[in-house]
């Protein structure tokens, strides 16, 4: 078993990992930037080493310094958490070269899954459904039409060199295709000087459904059910829950099987997440695989009763999985709200500063993962997430009621937060009815805020 673990991260996830270490009898080493001298992870760990100034490029992203800290402290493993170096193949490789355990998959797996094309090819070969699209560059309308027929409408035409929505058009029918293609191509020609186009099936108003998987070194792969992360603002998840109101038992079996197949095809080891887009038709497509622990892992922990961080550490230590797929039971319903230091009324502008008054809810079925405390100063350099509030109830209704009650108890003074905005989502009838997709925040006014209004 790992004896001494260095946590190459900060904030609540660092605290979460240190807590797992404390429970497992593993010595913990925190690294911190000069801006995090007083942060909870710095104070809670058995040892703490300063690795540089506030900006992450000079501290939490500086692998040479983190490795030096590991060597100095005599740690035998590094947990990267999420963000920062967690999906950096080069860092994983650096750990391999130094003979220190990286709590996560090996560098080659990270590199392959980080490359969209390689990942897509791997999944296609393994029979995991991917969004149908062209394999060859398209330059003419006629070839495009034939391809669109093969792919199935609606389709989206994208510039090969595209970005920022330029050179992108959707077509719902064959009739619309020609105009859409030509407009997109003209735009692409103007914007990028290149009219090479790709065509993809357009997944309309999908849900973001992801499957948590665990895999050990001995080829055992299991999934722990799904998380519905459809409530997002600009691809930033805000609320996650498990199970999803849109996934039937039958679909769960199918998607779970695909997720396991995906992990196996990638020779994956450790905890990972397969992200799918789920259409209203029930068709689902592989989007990408995240090769790290996720922010929203607690909802899975609540409904499965497992501790994913401990599982990660055990897998990294070379232990086989202690549970089989048959042992996994999804019980109850869990919801997580991310509480951020930001002002929704001012375009979600980050709001660093000192917390002057703090009250956080508690009680049965309520969990808070956070690193804030009364008097804590939120530094301006990092992600604005302050806390994750996770509730677990027998049913979705109970969970929503619990979340509303708990959110209503949250007091964080001194800085702006999105608590009221989150409260607004929980109150929304469409949300309550489980009737939403990834466009939810774009199509609903929440707590008086329309995110499309600038």
């Amino acid at each position: 078993m790992i004896r001494k673990l260095l946590i190459a991260n900060r904030g609540e996830i660092a605290v979460r990992i240190i807590r797992a270490c404390r429970e497992m009898g593993i010595e913990s080493v925190a690294v911190y930037s000069e801006a995090d001298r007083e942060s909870l992870h710095t104070q809670l760990a058995d040892e703490a080493i300063c690795i540089g100034p506030g900006p992450s490029s000079e501290s939490y992203l500086n692998m040479e310094r983190i490795m030096s800290a590991a060597m100095v402290s005599g740690a035998d493993a590094i947990h990267p958490g999420f963000g920062f170096l967690s999906e950096n193949a080069k860092f994983a490789e650096f750990c391999e070269q130094c003979g220190i355990i990286f709590v996560g998959p090996n560098s080659e797996v990270i590199r392959n899954l980080g490359n969209k094309q390689v990942a897509r090819n791997t999944m296609t070969a393994a029979g995991v459904p991917v969004i149908p699209g062209t394999d060859i560059p398209i330059l003419e309308v006629q070839t495009g039409l034939a391809e669109a027929d093969r792919i199935g409408y609606p389709v989206i035409v994208k510039a090969a060199l595209g970005g920022g929505g330029k050179g992108m058009r959707t077509a719902d029918t064959k009739e619309e295709f020609e105009l859409a293609f030509q407009t997109a191509q003209k735009e692409a020609q103007m914007a990028f000087g290149d009219g090479t186009m790709y065509i993809e099936h357009f997944v309309q108003h999908p849900r973001h459904i992801e499957f948590q998987i665990l895999a050990d070194r001995y080829g055992n792969v299991i999934h722990l059910g799904e998380r519905d992360c459809s409530i997002q603002r600009n691809h930033q998840k805000m609320i996650e829950e498990s199970p999803s109101a849109a996934v039937s038992e039958e679909l769960r079996l199918k998607m779970g099987e695909a997720a396991v197949k995906a992990a196996q095809a990638a020779h994956y080891v450790n905890a990972g997440t397969i992200e799918f887009l789920l259409e209203k038709t029930g068709r689902f497509y592989f989007m990408e695989m995240n090769t790290r622990i996720q922010v929203e892992h607690p909802v899975t922990e609540c409904v499965t009763g497992m501790d994913l961080i401990k599982e990660q550490i055990k897998i990294a230590s070379g232990e086989p999985l202690s549970v089989t797929q048959e042992d996994v039971r999804i019980q109850g319903h869990a919801i997580e709200c991310r509480i951020n230091a930001e002002n929704p009324e001012k375009h979600f502008r980050p709001s660093p500063g000192t917390i002057t008054e703090l009250h956080l809810p508690g009680g049965q079925g309520i969990r808070i993962d956070t690193d804030i405390y009364n008097g804590y100063r939120v530094p301006p350099y990092y992600d604005s997430m302050l806390a994750k509030l996770i509730v677990c109830g027998d049913t979705r209704e109970e969970a929503i009621a619990k979340m509303q009650s708990a959110l209503g108890e949250v007091i964080i003074d001194g800085i702006d937060t999105n608590v009221d905005y989150q409260f607004g989502i929980l109150e929304n009838p469409d949300y309550q009815a489980g009737n939403f997709d990834i466009e939810f925040l774009n199509t609903h006014v929440i707590a008086g805020v329309n995110i499309n209004e600038v």
């Binding site: 404390r22 429970e23 500086n62 060597m71 130094c98 070379g318 100063r377």
Partner: protein, 614 residues
């Protein structure tokens, strides 16, 4: 806030180190040797692989690591083009210095180098060149007899084979163990380079960190073109020695590349990533030179038209008429827009658009948005390589000079630059040239002469800079020297007044075979304000002065001071400047075609006569 109380520590599991199932207990993690190295500048650890891939530049602070000689060659030369010369030369230990030979033997073993410099032949961007690269691992690349000998042999062979020489310099200076013999290497290498230069061949030195002592005082500083890597220490006496001698702390940045650039000793600082491309570009520009030179230097080739043109000249005759006729013919050929004699054309020119007063011309010439020299360079030329410095004191930002390509041939371009906007105006000293600026221009003119390139000047100055420092450094001498040397320069010289042609400051860029003016430029003995102030003791009468000074293009054409007026459809600004491109570039082409066919003597005589008549 830090909590007053410590969190209680939890028990660490005893014996967990040896628990079953631990795959890694046997091995204590460690960073393998050679994976990381330390950057001496920012002190951080960096990945060796990453540094190697990134031109040996620190990814954190962009500090330049020293590069081994063979790696340097790989970085700048075309793949597999390097052919090494004079391998295995060994010193005879001239002073019989104790322990020296053993020391060298040890170094040879350690570095796998024979000595501190590698020489040979390469191609860069397809152009062949002789290259020499110092390697700091070998006694700090100090220059003993072998270093001096290898460089000298390489230069001699380059001269013989008519190849350019590139030396990558890095050195602590002379080699103490070889004493006076080492000192002599300075003279030997310099002498070889002098011969190389006299043979009309190119030498580029590239100064890298550190370049000091006897090497700085010999081959390092003798390049026709001297490039340097950023932040390289370059100096004669080392900073420590200077500090100890004068008992003072040296300022930040002293003796660094940027300091030398500012002080006029290097042409250009080039980032390591761009060195190959830049060297390739410079070599190419000098490689086509031979052909141009050959063409322009063969007297028999001077065509009939030219000889006729010269023989027809009589003292006192206004040259412009002939030139104009010449041009008129061409204009007829090209667009048929003008068909009358020169003088009529001049009048016609002045009558196009509303007739302007001289003062209006003055104002247009000074207009803020009027294109400056740099705009013309960007408009007319490609591949401009800017060269800095007078090699004495300073780089004058009021003068921009360098080599550029014009219609496939290299030319030396010199402009008096005012800059756009107040900040740039101040930076360029409003186009008022200092002695250092004239000396820079002269250096580049002489360089053009050596390589047989025509010189094209763009004049735009209110006048030479008037100030204490300018007088201290000999403003008068500097201008005079330009007039003197330009009159005998053996390559074609064209001068175009684009804005203000003020006084001797302008003339120092206009002792040319032909002088042209943009329609709304002016050229005068001094500013109308100055004229009024001297003559009438009242600078406010500038407007009146302008009218009597004969400073417009039309007036000067009539006076025979200039050959051509370049028409401005609308008064020029930065936006409509491209409108004159075709006209100007066609005319420059004709100019070059014409004057490049003259042999040196005829060319210089023609220029002499041009001013002799005035």
């Amino acid at each position: 806030m830090k909590f007053k109380h410590m969190f209680k520590r939890t028990a660490v599991k005893a014996g967990s180190v040896n628990s079953a199932g631990n795959l890694f207990a046997a091995r204590q993690p460690e960073v393998p040797d050679g994976l990381l190295k330390k950057c001496n500048s920012c002190k951080s650890a960096v990945f060796v692989e990453e540094v190697k891939k990134n031109y040996y530049i620190c990814p954190h602070c962009r500090n330049y690591f020293r590069v081994h000689a063979y790696r340097r060659i790989e970085m700048v030369a075309d793949a597999d083009s390097f052919e090494e010369w004079n391998q295995g030369l060994k010193t005879e230990n001239p002073l019989h210095f104790k322990g020296y030979e053993e020391k060298l033997e040890g170094l040879r073993e350690k570095t796998k180098l024979d000595e501190a410099v590698i020489t040979g032949k390469v191609t860069i961007g397809g152009t062949p060149a002789v290259i020499g690269v110092c390697d700091g691992r070998f006694l700090m690349a100090s220059m003993g007899e072998v270093v001096g000998e290898k460089i000298t042999r390489a230069v001699e062979r380059a001269t013989e084979e008519k190849l350019p020489v590139i030396l990558f310099v890095c050195s602590g200076g002379a080699r103490m163990q070889e004493g006076i013999v080492s000192l002599m290497q300075m003279a030997k290498t310099s002498a070889a380079l002098k011969r190389h230069s006299d043979a009309g061949q190119l030498y580029i030195s590239v100064l890298t960190n550190p370049t000091t002592g006897g090497v700085t005082a010999s081959f390092a500083m003798l390049g026709d073109i001297i490039l340097a890597e950023p932040n390289a220490l370059i100096g004669f006496a080392g900073p420590r020695v200077i500090e100890q001698t004068i008992g003072q702390k040296l300022p930040q940045g002293f003796q660094r590349s940027e300091f030398l650039l500012e002080h006029g000793f290097i042409d250009e600082i080039v980032e390591r990533e761009n060195l190959k491309e830049e060297l390739g570009r410079i070599l190419k520009m000098h490689a086509v030179d031979g052909a141009v030179k050959g063409k322009s230097r063969i007297p028999e080739k001077a065509d009939e038209e030219t000889s006729q043109y010269i023989s027809e000249e009589k003292p006192g005759q206004i040259l412009s008429e002939q030139c104009l006729k010449n041009d008129t013919e061409q204009s007829v050929k090209n667009d048929g827009e003008q068909s009358q004699s020169g003088k009529t054309e001049t009048k016609g020119m002045n009558q196009i658009g509303p007739k302007m007063s001289a003062w209006e011309h003055v104002q247009l010439a000074r207009e803020k948005n009027r294109p400056t020299g740099k705009d013309y360079v960007n408009l007319l030329f490609t591949d401009f390589v800017e060269m800095h410095g007078d090699r004495y004191f300073r780089d004058d930002p009021a003068v921009i000079g360098g080599i550029a390509m014009f219609c496939g041939q290299p030319v030396t371009v010199l402009v008096q630059e005012k800059g756009h906007g107040t900040k740039a105006n101040i930076e360029h000293n409003f186009g008022m040239v200092s002695p250092d600026g004239y000396r820079k221009s002269l250096r580049l003119m002489k360089q053009a002469e050596k390589f047989g390139r025509p010189v094209i000047c763009f004049v735009d100055t209110p006048g030479a800079f008037c100030g204490l420092e300018a007088e201290e450094r000999g403003q008068g001498e500097a201008i005079a020297r330009n007039l003197y040397e330009l009159s005998g320069l053996k390559v074609p010289v064209l001068s175009v007044v684009i804005g203000e042609g003020g006084s001797g400051g302008a003339l120092a860029f206009a002792v040319a075979d032909e002088v042209w003016m943009m329609e709304h430029s002016i050229y005068s003995i001094l500013s109308p304000e100055g004229f009024a102030s001297i003559l009438w003791k009242d600078s406010k009468r500038a407007k009146e002065a302008a009218e009597v000074m004969k400073l417009t293009a039309g007036d000067l054409k009539e006076l025979g001071i200039i050959e051509q007026i370049i028409r401005e459809e609308e008064p020029l600004n930065r936006e409509n400047l491209p409108e004159v491109f075709e006209d100007l570039s066609r005319k420059i082409q004709h100019f070059l075609e014409h004057y490049e066919t003259m042999d040196e003597t005829a060319l210089v005589k023609h220029r002499y006569d041009r001013f002799r008549r005035m």
